[in-house]
Homo-oligomer: 230 residues x 2
Amino acid sequence: MGAVKTKRMPRAVREQQMLDAAVRTFGQRGYMAASMDEIAELAGVSKPLVYLYLNSKEDLFTACIRREATALVAAVRAGARPGLPADRQLWSGLTAFFTHTARHPDGWAVLHLQARTHGAVFAAEVAAMRAEVVEFVTRLILDAARDAHRDPDLPEREVAGLAEALVGAAESLADWANATPGVTVRHSAATLMNFAWAGLGDLMAGRRWTPPDDEPDPEAARSGLTSPVG
Amino acid sequence: MGAVKTKRMPRAVREQQMLDAAVRTFGQRGYMAASMDEIAELAGVSKPLVYLYLNSKEDLFTACIRREATALVAAVRAGARPGLPADRQLWSGLTAFFTHTARHPDGWAVLHLQARTHGAVFAAEVAAMRAEVVEFVTRLILDAARDAHRDPDLPEREVAGLAEALVGAAESLADWANATPGVTVRHSAATLMNFAWAGLGDLMAGRRWTPPDDEPDPEAARSGLTSPVG
């Protein structure tokens, strides 16, 4: 033991352990109530080491926001499959989003509740990520409209509004899904597809968008629930 | 002048003036940066009087949140017209919502940005209002489904999800509309109607929901813009 051996431990690994513990603590207890003692204990390190690596509670929280934001954006980007028809692209993007938020409920709570509830600096971190997602969704909708050769029917400003609406709806549903027992990823994604793709008008008329059957429900195995949709 | 005359001034009127000034200051400067000096000056009263009536900056902010939340919920309720077909009910409810948020941008900023950014106590105040709106929208969708005699096609859990999606989309669009010059109420409401009622699928196929022509655009006179939709 001693200082030399401690310093030779891979710092990156230790930092990730601290961030794992911090995301869990911030997500479950809230930013204010979370203590550095608790985070250090959960990470299996001393409190001074957390301060040495991450500097302060504020900086630790900022590091959590950045890591979770990067992971969420990457998951959504990886979920979109450019070769597919527009509705299938949207379905796979939404499924990726709800899978990520369901698997990382503490990370989602950090991003969507905690970061926006404890000061403008943290809120700005999340706003930057959100702008990136809106930009990405705007591009998806524009591409879909272009594929349909109907660009003139969807002016750019309307597409920007549609992307804002879609992202806002997805955020709201992710909060709801994580707070409501028994709601599967497939359920959340199908609800939003029916809302966003088919529209309430089609739903009222008994016409619904049907999720493809050729892929497993990523949550089915975990929750043991059959999907209430599709 | 003197204490007696001051005390006989209607307290309710004074309080509303203080709340007007506070909503404007909190909405534009943010909760942290807003000073009680500034609020008192804008309200045309002394700072001690603000403290006498509203007790503290925290209590003043809470009073602002409650007043703005009550006004927004009342505006949305007043906008829904139970006798109309479902799409017209939704259209009039959305128009009422976007009209209110456009006319009270500082109130909306207090509710949707400031209150959720400065602590769990304030966030809980807004969460209560939001739950009321979601409940109201859930009821609207259920009634519409019942009118269409298609209840079995829309299980209650899916309706709850649709209401969350719709409210999240409307919140997101209201932020965007208030931050984007030239976006009219009719534009925001029509974008969300097309998204929520017709769905992206219909939009891609060139089928859009058309706003009724028999009502004036509540923002047209103010903004001088022609509506980019409908």
